[in-house]
Amino acid sequence: MAKKPVGPQMILANCLREGRALFFGRDGAWHAEPALADVAEGDGLDALMAKARAFADANNVIDPVFIPAEQKDDHYYPAHIKHVMQAKGPSVRPDLGYQVSPDWERR
């Protein structure tokens, strides 16, 4: 068994058909905006992953994984630069990324 991740986590996966990175949302759907992501910790992790995994089992997303989240203002965001990059798009092409969430700009 892999060690349980420590601290608040959100779930990131890729869309099967298009490949883009998506966060598992509080509304039970997948979103490009990390601000909409559901966050769990400790004992709540298994239940969250079970919900997300159902989508992978239904062949809609690939490889849902926990990623560390950190709180800023009212929302959680990915903590690691790699996941920040996945949420925003390439830093060298700001014209092409997913910078869809206005919350990103306020950060």
Binding site: L16, E18, A21, I62, M85, P90, G97
Partner: protein, 551 residues
Amino acid sequence: MYAYDPYDKEIVNTRVEEFRDQVNRRLSGELTEEEFRPLRLMNGLYLQLHAYMLRVAIPYGTLSSVQMRRLALIARKYDKGYGHFTTRQNIQYNWPKLVDTPDILLDLADVEMHAIQTSGNCIRNVTTDQFSGATADEIADPRPYAELIRQWSTFHPEFSFLPRKFKIAITGAPSDRAAVKWHDIGLVVRKNDAGDIGFEVLVGGGMGRTPVIAKTIRDFIPEADLLGYLEAILRVYNEQGRRDNKYKARIKILVEALGSDTFADLVEKEWQTTRHHPIDVPEAEIKRIEAFFAPPPLEVLPEQDPAVDELAANNFLFHAFLKNNVRPHKVPGHVNVTISLKPHGGIPGDATDAQMDLVADLADTYSLGEIRVSHEQNLILPHVARRDLPELYEALSRSGLGTANVGLISDIIACPGLDYCALANARSIPIAQNLAKRFDDITRLQDIGELKVKISGCINSCGHHHAGHIGILGVDRKGEEVYQLLLGGSGAEDASKAQILGPGFDENGIVDAVETVVAVYLGERQDGEKFLETYRRIGADPFKEAVYEAH
């Protein structure tokens, strides 16, 4: 250029159908992701940070204008209007959808292109000198042999599940522009005393976390025996290469473990037992392939052209272009023109669909419709009449393709890094951009002279940092991007491994450190010495002192 016959067409078209079937089975759920992953990888389809990435093979870096236009079309139709030319002379698309990839492959097959074996643990696209067939210093054009190897290695029934990926490079010239000593197999075209063509065979080169320079295991293998000998190498590797640890699975580890002499003996023994078997092709087949690469019908022209000289005298940037981006062709009065894909502030190796279309048009007008891709991530028009240079330069400059920095410090190799790549630990492209900004003056660039900077965003070394005169390696230190500085590498015939200078730097610090290194070189260099020569003469210490003294 090579043109497909009905057999080649059938094989590539069958592959498109096969891949469409695999994608459909994945979408229907018949294949799990675990099962599909190796299948899509064998077709160059990765899943990266933001999207799928499709790597399209450009065999030995040679493209026709028709093919280049098709690459532009694919960028427009299925992607976001650009592509990335790689250090393996291929092109990568960063945003294709899985559901579109079979159609992309069909569009490619239509112009005799494919994505076969651009990833996976198999024999990858064979790379070579970007000036092949157009340079005076070569013994023979290596591309017919690269094509022979391409065919032999395509869907090889025995070698499609090797311990690890396998890269072969070949050069026809003693000046090595294909970094053959950094490949799993390096081939150097030789001529023996009888005047016959053959190859020096080197094995076990490679970068990654264990950089190794390839060792010669045979001084001369005759042309007629090349494939049989390669097959013997691959069989020994497939049987004995390590499979328990992917970081020790490349052939370099096997060759180091056995010793290159023992490895050579094993290969020789296996080769002798299979010589009766028709692995090698009939002589007529070599001749057939060679005919596609016959020297182009270029008229001998005067070496000097008054219009060129006049523009060079009046236009400083054209003068620099002439000096840095233009080199002589083997036919007098003609030149090879390198189109820099390293505009200052741009992304190394990226080209937009409009730029690809323009290069295709310019190739038709000025270069017999032929284009090359270099492992240094630039494009080349190989057959240009010198007298056409003013017009060509004007057209390139108008479209942001006239940067006169080839071989200079801002002509940087950079992998996609953490901006795109799922394996990366740090970004590479912004470092290249900041360096180009710091060295933005063409006079200063030319004064510094030849200096090859190579940046990788992780230890896998796609940015060739081990072979950089100045190498930069991005690492992840507790979530922060940290950059290590390496000096003294070379990817040329005098191949050497760059050595880490000391502790790493942050994003800004690395640019300062490179500037300090350059200042030490300028202070120490003796008449006409290039950076690498000075470094080899004085060693790392003066650089180390200067770089770390300030910190």
